[in-house]
Amino acid sequence: MTDTAPSSLSKYSGGAGAEPPRLATPSGGAKPLVQRHPSVLIFIGCLALFTLGITILAEGFGIGVISTSFVKTLGKTLCLCLVALAMDLVWGYTGILSLGHMAFFGIGGYAIGMWLMYARTELIVVESLAQAPLPPTPQEISDGIAAQIFGVVGASEFPPIWAVAHSLPLQLAAVVLVPGLIALVFGWLAFRSRVTGVYLSILTQAMTLALALYLFQNDSGLRGNNGLSGLQNLPGLGDVPQSTVSMWFLWASAAALGLGYLFCAWIVSGKFGSVLRAIRDDEARVRFLGYSVEAYKLFIFTVTAVIAGIAGALYYPQAGIINPAEIAPIASIYLAVWVAIGGRGRLYGAVIGAAFVSLLSTWFTGGQAPDINLGPYTIQWVDWWTILLGLSFVAVTLFAPKGIGGLIVIIERRTTPNRHGADLGPDPGALREKEAET
């Protein structure tokens, strides 16, 4: 969808000697984004309808057919769609197979989780100290919060990374800045030394693993393998029922996904997108055109890390808990699988893949899928789902490299004719592909 050229020139078919056109029609770039890419409008429309439908059906503000926990599942799915968009931008469009973007997602979750946990514990501590004969000093309050939060890891003092946890604006800034800075430094080191392909993928996996292992330690300052919990409770809004909070988050997630989609569509639709796809297909050639490939890669790697961080910050309050296992290398591999199954190189493909596979995964691993009794052996989907997913991934890679999104393209009949093996020149018997490859 996104690779269509502006069509303003199509009217021009000047023969030999004709004046090159001084275009009277508005140039492609002047048209609004949605006009150049109708898919954006369709997507935003579907998202709005979906959100409206859930609002009507859910408990919070509607008739209550859909449970609050399912609303949370849907809200989380929207966040996964957003991080899949980021993955598609970095992998599908730019060709960088990052297997570390779920780490940025997790960092976003931790950043918002720190504030949620701090602020809620603060309220509890202040309340419990209010009974004391003397008004508590700030130090006493701080110690009380620290004891509450870090008791599980046997500490009672705030580690330095909690320095700004009391401030929502600063932790929100951290949601964006920490993934962005890590991506910037990591990307600068990796791209500058021209690490590409599978080596880069391995490097990103190593980064993810290192981060997860660090967080698993009790003295990492983020409660080790306990992680942060109780994130579904918004500080100061204890009276608001979860059915309402879940709707707020669903709306916020839908809005973030919509804006993220617009942003990504804007990036890939113009000349910048053209450069990205060119880098994916032949980065050496792009260099000889005078583009600094490294700068472009760094830009897209950092921007997508920020998007992933925002998605994570919306996801974990709906999940209620975050722990280092969420950042495990396998999570980022799943992300790549979703995008591959949905169809990389197409924004809606990434969204479809993430939504489809993650919901299916919830269904299978949630014990809702009926087990299949084969007599001597019973297929239990909780165990077999991963294998099914792995097989689908292999099948998609081998037989449908364009994924589910590719089906839409087939319907549109916009496929490139396959010229492999044909005469290369205009005259019969011209140089053939094989001869040309010298």
Binding site: S8, D281, D282, R287, E435
Partner: protein
């Protein structure tokens, strides 16, 4: 005529094999030069060195009036300085339209932030259409480059070079896979380009070189064997021995 590019005493080895051996070469501001030589003479490697793809073990590559060294610059910086290159095997972005390919090459600010803000003006579209017409692809502007024939891809790549508007064009075997009529058109394009800038053409086909009607440099085993008019080098004993006489 002042010198645009000066290569002196350059050597490159690949795993002990000397692909370029103490090579020296000069070209002026608006000059056409043909480089010929047997397979493996180092013609492509010579271009790799100028464009920054391969770093030489020894020697200097100086560029422009200020005699800037190209060796310390990256590929993209060299391209921005004004060196354009057409590859031996046509490399265009097959997944994108002819118009997109030309627009990518069009001489504009290449930094990410300005590309992000870039919106093609009517003038840019006009320029693209103009170049498409020069290379005979005006009817194919919105076709994907991957659908083009081999010869058309060669032209598209030449068109991208023209759009880039470099001071020095390095053209590696532009006529490979072309029909005689297409070759003639290619010659005309190159001769036209050489009126305002320096053009280095690597080509095997002697007829093609003759039509370019320019000074010829013969490479052999990584160094210059002879230099002069086509008639002079083709009558050179050494050249006949290593190249023509085979």
């Amino acid at each position: 005529m002042s010198t645009l590019l000066e290569v002196s005493g350059v050597s490159v080895s690949f795993d002990g094999f000397r692909a370029i051996n103490n090579l020296s070469f000069q070209i002026g501001q608006a000059e056409m030069r043909a480089v010929i030589g047997p397979n493996g003479a180092g013609k492509t490697t010579f271009m790799d060195i100028i464009t920054g793809k391969t770093k030489p073990d020894a020697g200097r590559v100086l560029w422009g009036d200020k005699s800037q060294s190209l060796l310390a610059m990256s590929e993209s910086q060299i391209a921005q300085a004004g060196v354009g290159r057409k590859f031996q095997r046509p490399t265009v972005f097959e997944d994108q339209s002819v118009a997109d390919n030309l627009m990518l090459a069009l001489r504009k600010n290449r930094s990410p932030l300005s590309v992000l803000r870039f919106r093609a003006s009517a003038q840019d579209h006009g320029k693209v259409a103009e170049i498409a017409q020069e290379i005979g692809l005006e009817a194919a502007l919105h076709r994907k480059a991957g659908e083009l024939s081999h010869g058309q891809k060669q032209w598209l790549e030449i068109g991208m070079l023209l759009a880039q508007d470099p001071q020095l064009l390095l053209v590696d075997e532009p006529a490979a896979g072309m029909t005689p009529a297409e070759r003639e058109h290619t010659t005309a394009l190159l001769v036209e380009a050489a009126k305002t800038r320096a053009v280095v053409v690597v080509e095997h086909d002697m007829e093609f070189v003759r039509r370019l009607d320019c000074k010829v440099t013969v490479l052999h085993e990584g160094s210059v064997l002879a230099e002069g008019t086509l008639d002079r080098v083709t009558s050179d004993e050494k050249v006949i021995e290593v190249y023509l006489g085979r």
